[in-house]
């Protein structure tokens, strides 16, 4: 999609933009949660007048719950004496996620690879509009460039915002993004050619940075799968792992699920909910046998899935480099080091 028209919105006018968008969409922004025991940023509904803060890096949780709800109702049913009736789940509102970091936005595209035939997921991608926000600063756990993205990436966004010299350059990335920008055209000034040049130069500099490192996906594809599988590294990495759900639940590109029926008083629903390869139950067979019964097998699976099986199949890591798993892991198991040791 080529850039037809980009707007330039002063940093302190961002609330105006949000208020206008809020008339037509249900807008979500990352908000500083103050009411919990500790403060951190989480996705929440935007109400006119709310502060939109720019902070370094990503919110605590990824945007995957908007695409892959925890849990998601697949259908509802009722069981009467001699009839069983199926019902569609309720329609969800059209949502706009405003201020999505490039890594998180890119996760939508990556998850779509295995979910290309999943009507529930695809429907959500049609319903949710993504307004991206480029990064001016990186966290010490960020590694989007390594993972194939960029702090100024636009993949997965409909509109992309980049803050340059106290103004947001607002670009249309998709057709529907372009349509939204058209409706805003009379309310905000158009970005000048020099603004666009600045933006493009900045973006190109990241592109150059990425190309200066040997493509890790290529390197991993060249590795023998069984050799990686049998590396002694897995025992060492997994020793301190407590096999919790932090890294997988907070990860934007972990998409494994389990399915169950929840029934009460003749009414029921079939839900799918997040599962984690770090849990022993994930692979537990009904016979009692567990092919991934040992901790190192589960840790290995998480990394092999993201960094070997997935790229072998789709030519890209199942990781966007957001660094959540590194920051939130209670024992600091660092996927960057694991990747380095695999290469």
């Amino acid at each position: 999609m080529t850039l037809s028209k980009a707007l330039k919105i002063a940093e302190n006018e961002i609330k105006n933009l949000l208020n206008i968008l809020n008339d037509s969409f249900q807008v979500f922004i990352p908000k500083l949660k103050e009411k919990t025991s500790y403060k951190f940023y989480e996705w929440d509904i935007y109400n006119n007048g709310d502060e939109f803060n720019i902070f370094i890096g990503v919110p605590k949780s990824s945007i995957k719950s908007f695409f892959f709800p925890q849990p998601e109702t697949l259908f509802k049913f009722s069981i009467q004496k001699d009839t069983t009736a199926l019902k569609e789940p309720e329609e969800e509102n059209k949502r706009m996620l405003f201020g999505v970091r490039p890594c998180d936005a890119r996760s939508i595209i990556l998850n779509k690879l295995p979910y290309s035939e999943d009507s529930y997921y695809i429907k959500k991608t049609e319903q949710n509009i993504i307004i991206g926000l480029s990064c001016n600063e990186r966290r010490n756990s960020c590694f989007c460039l390594w993972a194939g993205g960029s702090p100024m990436g636009t993949e997965g966004t409909d509109i992309s915002l980049t803050l340059i010299d106290a103004s947001f350059i607002v670009e249309a990335i998709t057709e529907r993004g372009g349509k939204i920008i058209e409706t805003l055209g009379d309310k905000f000034p158009v970005a000048s050619t020099s603004d666009i040049e600045k933006l493009n130069a900045l973006r190109a500099s990241y592109e150059k940075q990425r190309q200066s490192i040997p493509d890790p996906v290529k390197k991993i594809q060249d590795k023998n799968l069984l050799e990686l599988y049998d590396k002694p590294l897995w025992n060492d990495v997994s020793l301190s792992c407590i096999n919790c759900g932090i890294c997988t639940f907070l990860c934007p590109t972990c998409y494994c699920f389990d399915i169950q029926d929840e029934t009460s008083k003749g009414q029921g629903k079939r839900i799918r909910f997040w599962d984690s390869c770090m849990f022993p139950l994930f692979t537990q067979h009904a016979t009692g046998h567990n092919p991934r019964g040992a901790k190192h097998q589960r840790v290995r699976n998480r990394f092999m899935h993201k960094l070997k099986y997935f790229p072998d199949r789709y030519n890209v890591f199942s990781c966007v480099g957001c660094g959540r798993c590194i920051k939130e892991c209670p024992v600091n198991i660092d996927i960057r080091e694991v990747l380095r040791d695999m290469l």
């Binding site: 025991s37 500790y38 389990d258």
Partner: protein, 332 residues
């Protein structure tokens, strides 16, 4: 991470003692901590030989309870002892593990160290929302936090964990050797002050507080998995026949998880705070176990893991056990 002098003293003594243990052929591995890739973070680490000793570190972010790893590591290293560093609460958890048959005293070589209290890194990051902490320097009583464009000094005690602030037993209760000196029992004005505040709430307020506390729980079970008390082959949350707990993230299910987990720890919890330290969502679930710790102490006069010869309070019947609740039921 740079270190303070007290911690440096501990570390150099630790390294020397571990070296000797390897040289004397007493241990086949030593469980301690290694440095992490991010500030305020730490890695539990098993030194397998003399060469690994240099990787050991010691600072106020060592909040993971190492007792949690011991039974598994010992199972895989049967020939010699496994060494481990242990503060007051960790050593008490080892005692509980021995009492409950998870460990044998002879399988572990305990290097005891009196704890100065560990820091709650969330207390620090909470002061810098949306900013990136790039460097943390710890001195004996001051922690310096640095990021792009800011540098701030914080009193160490101001960001120390709640459980450490009210800890009366910083000294290890069992050990084979000591690092530094014992500090003695600390006198705490009221170690249940956090609980008293909640107990005084009206039932509605109490419920409101509880739901608000667990509201952000993503049921990652890190709190359960970080705890040395949780070693059931299949936890009740994972049982499918019968299934005790629904899989939806709903208050009912999350509440059941937290209440049951806390009850399973009653009379066994040492208030080590590992559960709270590992929670990604900052949930203060330690308060639930603390309430039960208080009840067990008031009812049976027992604090978990202090005395290896003391029978476990909840699996032992004593003729003078309080049974008021039965009397109360009868009256109604």
């Amino acid at each position: 991470m740079e270190n303070n002098s007290l911690n440096n003293n501990i570390l150099s003594e630790l390294k020397a003692k571990v070296l000797k243990l390897f040289q004397d052929g007493i241990i086949s591995g030593f469980l301690g901590f290694a440095s992490a890739s991010l500030p305020m973070s730490i890695r539990p680490f098993l030194a397998k030989n003399e060469k690994d000793i240099d990787k050991l570190v010691w600072n106020s972010f060592c909040t993971i309870n190492l007792a949690n790893y011991l039974p598994e590591i010992i199972k895989q290293n049967k020939d010699k002892k496994i060494g481990a560093i242990a503060t007051g609460c960790w050593s008490r958890n080892i005692v509980v593990q021995i009492q409950e048959g998870q460990l044998k005293r002879d399988d572990v070589y305990i290097l005891g160290v009196s704890s100065r209290g560990m820091i709650n890194s969330k207390n620090i990051s909470d002061r810098f929302p949306g900013k990136e902490i790039l460097h943390v320097k710890e001195e004996d009583h001051i922690v310096t936090i640095e990021g792009r464009g800011f540098s701030e000094q914080i009193k160490r005690w101001d960001v120390t964990r709640d459980n450490c602030k009210t800890c009366a037993h910083p000294d290890p209760v069992i050990y084979d050797d000591l690092i530094g000196n014992l500090a003695g029992k600390r006198s705490i004005n009221n170690k249940y002050s956090q609980i008293d505040v909640i107990e005084e709430m009206e039932p509605d307020k109490k419920w409101e507080w509880f739901l608000k506390e667990i509201d952000k729980c993503i049921r990652c079970y890190a709190c359960r998995n970080a705890c040395p008390l949780c070693y059931c082959n299949t936890c009740f949350v994972d049982d499918s026949k019968p299934q005790w707990l629904g899989k939806s993230i709903k208050h009912t299910e999350t509440a059941i998880f937290h209440i049951l987990r806390a009850y399973h720890c009653a009379g066994r919890c040492t208030d080590c705070g590992a559960c709270e330290s590992v929670c990604p969502m900052g949930i203060k679930m330690r308060l639930f176990t603390k309430k039960l710790e208080k009840d067990v102490f008031n009812l049976f006069g027992v604090e978990a893991g202090l005395d290896i010869n003391e029978p476990l309070p909840l699996t032992t019947y004593k003729i003078d056990d309080p049974e008021d609740f039965i009397l109360k039921l009868e009256k109604e």
